[in-house]
Amino acid sequence: MGQKPYIMAEAGLQFFGKISASISHEIKNVLAIINENAGLLDDFTLMAAKGMAINPDRLKTMAVKVMEQIGRADGIIKNMNKFAHSADDPIKGINLADTLELIRSLSGRFASMRGITLAPVHHANPTAVTTMPFFLENIIWLCLDFAMDTAGAGKTVGLACEETKDGARIKFSRLEALGEKTVDMFPTETEKALLDVLKAEVLIDLEAGEIILNLPKNIEA
C-alpha cells in the first residue's frame, strides 16, 4: 500500500483538529462575553439591593449584548454541525458556493489572526458538483491557508466559484505576492494526494495573482 492513504488521513485529522480548536476558542469567547454581562447584571442587582437606582436602558443594552452573542454562538454551532456532517457521505452532490462559504466562515478566525480579510464568496449561479465533500473542504482549506500566507497581513483574499465546460472551479484571487518562490512550496505532497483522489487540479496564475482549483462535474463519471 502506498503512502497516500496515510498522508490523507493525517491531513484530514489535522484539518478537523484545527477547525474544531478554532470553533471551541470562538465559543469560549462567546461564553466569556455572556459571563461578563451576567456578572454585570449581578453587580447591578447587588447595587439595587443597596438602594442604588438602575437605569433601564443600561439593562436593555446588556440584554441586547447577550442576545447578540447567542446569535453569534448559534451561527458558529450551525457551521460546526454542517462541517461535522460533511464526513457522513463519502460521495455526494453539493453546491460549491455553499461549501466555499462554509470554509470561508470556518476560516474567519485564522484570517483575522493574520490580519487578513476574506472577501464575500463571488458566484453567479449555484454550482453543482458531485464530489467527496470532506476531502473537498480539506483541499479548499489548504488552498486558502496558502493564499492567506501568500497575501500577508492587511490584505484581502478574493474567493469565487463558477461552472466550467466540464466541471467547476474555485478562484483564490488578489494574491499579488504570488511568485516563483512561493509556487515552489505549493502544492505539497498532501495537496497532491487530495487533488488526486478528487480528480482535481491546482493551477497557479502568477500574472493574475490567482490560485485556481479545477474540479470535475462528477467524480464518479
Binding site: K28, A32, N37, Q69
Partner: protein, 119 residues
C-alpha cells in the same frame, strides 16, 4: 490600582473593565494591541491583563513591547483556548505573573491582581 485590559473581543473587556471599576479598580480597556501601546504612553498602569491570541500581535509579543517601556509593570494572561497546560507553560515562559482561562471569574481575577501586585 490601575489596570489595562487588552482583548480583541471588545464586548468582553468593556464589561470586565466596568465590573472591576465597581470593585474600586481603575480599569481601562483596548481591543487593539497598537491602541493599547498608545494608551500606555498617556497613562501609567500597574498591571495589564492580556489575551494571548489576538490579531496582528499575540499577548506574549505585546507584553514584551509593554515591558520594554515599563519594566516594572505586571502581567496576567488569559486565553479562550482549551489546551490550558500548553498555555500555562507558554505564559510562564513568557514571564507572565499569572494565567487565567476564559470565562474569567471576577473574584479570582481581583484576588490574583492583588497577589501579583503585592508579591
Amino acid at each position: 490600582m490601575r489596570v489595562l485590559l487588552v482583548d480583541d473581543e471588545s464586548e468582553l473587556v468593556s464589561a470586565l473593565a466596568e465590573r472591576l471599576s465597581f470593585r474600586g479598580i481603575e480599569a481601562d480597556w483596548s481591543s487593539k494591541c497598537y491602541d493599547a501601546l498608545t494608551q500606555m504612553e498617556r497613562k501609567k498602569y500597574d498591571l495589564a491583563v492580556l489575551d494571548m491570541k489576538m490579531p496582528k500581535m499575540n499577548g506574549i509579543e505585546l507584553k514584551k513591547k509593554m515591558q520594554e517601556k515599563f519594566p516594572d509593570m505586571k502581567f496576567i494572561f488569559m486565553t479562550g483556548h482549551g489546551s490550558e497546560d500548553n498555555y500555562r507553560a507558554g505564559s510562564a515562559e513568557a514571564g507572565a505573573d499569572y494565567f487565567l482561562v476564559k470565562p474569567v471569574d471576577i473574584d479570582t481575577l481581583v484576588e490574583k491582581m492583588n497577589e501579583v501586585l503585592h508579591k
